[in-house]
Symmetry: D2
Subunit: 199 residues, 4 copies
């Protein structure tokens, strides 16, 4: 296949990218300097070489160390463990700037179609709990998206934790009005949560 066509097909597989934008990416690379293309090639190669999953939280991180910079940070507390679906959700919580505890990346949410938990690292999470409790763990925060998949995952993970570590406190992210919400446009469930969680 024509290399222009071939590269375009690869970009089409990127999340959120259709054929037209894939073509624009190729056109951009054609127009740009050889050094940019070289940099892109090197960076992608580096990903394969030097990026590893952190042995604690399972997120991807750069470097040869077994632990990522959050898990190896001695200043973070070990009392809280936030379970997130993905690396991007972990990054979102970090950006919010308040959370100082540990993370565990589950690797997705339960698909409501299949109800399979196969891709998820639930067993792996459960196995780490005894040691984490020795290390001071007191509360697990289920930080899943506020949608049916996230809710189903929370129910399942909460049940499993209660069997394996019944003395842990398990919480979930608060529901209510998000910043900027007007009551008029809020859905009834959000208003119900906002009323229930008033403080």
């Amino acid at each position: 296949m024509d290399p222009i066509e071939r590269l375009s097909r690869i970009f089409e597989r990127f999340p959120g990218i259709g054929p037209r934008q894939a073509n624009r990416f190729v056109a951009y690379l054609l127009r740009s300097s050889p050094s940019l293309r070289r940099e892109l090639v090197e960076s992608v190669q580096q990903l394969g070489g030097s990026v590893h999953q952190c042995q604690e939280c399972m997120r991807y991180h750069a470097g040869d160390s077994k632990l990522c910079n959050i898990c190896s940070n001695p200043e973070r507390d070990h009392e809280h463990l936030a379970i997130v679906a993905s690396d991007t959700d972990l990054a979102a919580l970090e950006r919010s700037g308040t959370y100082r505890g540990q993370y565990f990346v589950l690797g997705g949410t339960i698909s409501l179609a299949s109800e399979k938990t196969s891709g998820l690292r639930i067993q792996q999470l459960l196995r780490t709990l005894p040691e984490r409790q020795l290390g001071g763990l007191e509360e697990i925060i289920l930080a899943f998206p506020a949608n049916p998949e996230g809710d189903a995952t929370a129910v399942r993970v909460r049940e499993d934790i209660m069997v394996h570590a019944p003395d842990l406190r398990v919480t979930a992210l608060g529901r209510g009005l998000s910043t900027g919400s007007e009551l008029e446009y809020a859905d009834p469930e959000t208003l119900k949560n906002a009323l229930d969680n008033r403080r």
Copy 2:
């Protein structure tokens, strides 16, 4: 002025309506039957004649009674009073189906530009508190939009209540993830609230 033009100008003043949609409204009325136009005329005339503000919650309601159907409903509790900015916000809370207490419509939120509270019925609210407390009032729920104006109004109303009725509990609608939110797209403040309000 041409009656087509004249009516179009009136519709242009309706909230969210531009010249083009105003024209479409007029075209719709021209195409439709005389009975629809008559019904519209009668309904608007009725608004003026038979719609009054409820003497308790200050929302608009139909009929000649002094109280609206919520304030006159003996089955609603008098322990909770939700302060809302507008009739539409009151309607939104009612739709959510959980709240069974009383309401008070403040008439708006503080404008951050002017910081004026002139249009708002704060004094009127405060004057009713002694009697409401005699009637069993225990908690005031500040149900304002989750935006700077709503927050400023909440701060002000809370202060005033604390001066006039220091033994009342004053709460606000819970903040956090609204239904359907994904962590990735949530703003940092919402994530911070969701963490703080976890349960």
Copy 3:
């Protein structure tokens, strides 16, 4: 029914208006002065009383005269007759500021589902052609929307005109790039038209 509810139901029937915006319209009228409501009532009543269809072009116009201000304007030419689907399309052509001929409002386009031409004033149009030709008519411009319904209507009207007035020139609005179009985002048919109609 409650007049608030009743008026809201009427506004819900307006084009493009859902229950929520209908409620906002009612709330707006409740908040506004009695004089605005009176003006609205009077304008709607006037529509019924003083708006008539022009006997020539069939559009709605104000006043008791048989002809609208376009059809009665002696400075407009009688060589061109633009057939449009609706009053709004007529208004759009007028806004463009170049057309100085006559109009005829057909009352819609052929529905592709039913292929019915029942609501359309095709026969009425055809009957006026002999007199219009005596008056100088040379060209009929089919000014229908550039969609399948508009195209089907154009085919049908063109055929009918060719039977009844074979010596008239029948044209259609030009197709091609609309202002602001980029080639990259134009559909193939538009590009084909733009190539065919290059000049």
Copy 4:
């Protein structure tokens, strides 16, 4: 820099990509198989190695031949030459399926801010005209976007062609209603064009 961060920064320079989507691209590559990353690397390397500009139309094409598959196609006519701003615009015209002539990629449009024509291959185009005329060229089609930049470029290129090859016919893509347009939403200039270009 961290390779995750580094690659994300490169993707941020892609057209239309912000920091968030750049992160998602990296996350996608991290999740995907090593073979996909290898394919991406190879394809980008191939772009540098095997993609050249066609010596005739100046678009990028794969392979070592001097001419692209359009310019070397003996079945395409040499009477028409379409001047386009970019490779993507050329591809759009090809997709429309009617054009069978030659192309020339100008390399952009005149920026209205600077009015510079420096990046554009206008001189290079003009130099090829004598030979193209010997080869049968009769018409040059200015196929620029229907926006102020495209119009300014057309004016400039037309003037230059008229000086260097006054006997060539110079046309531009037709303007009018694009497929799907309704008159009600068309801008006045488009309607004016549609009237002027009626046929």
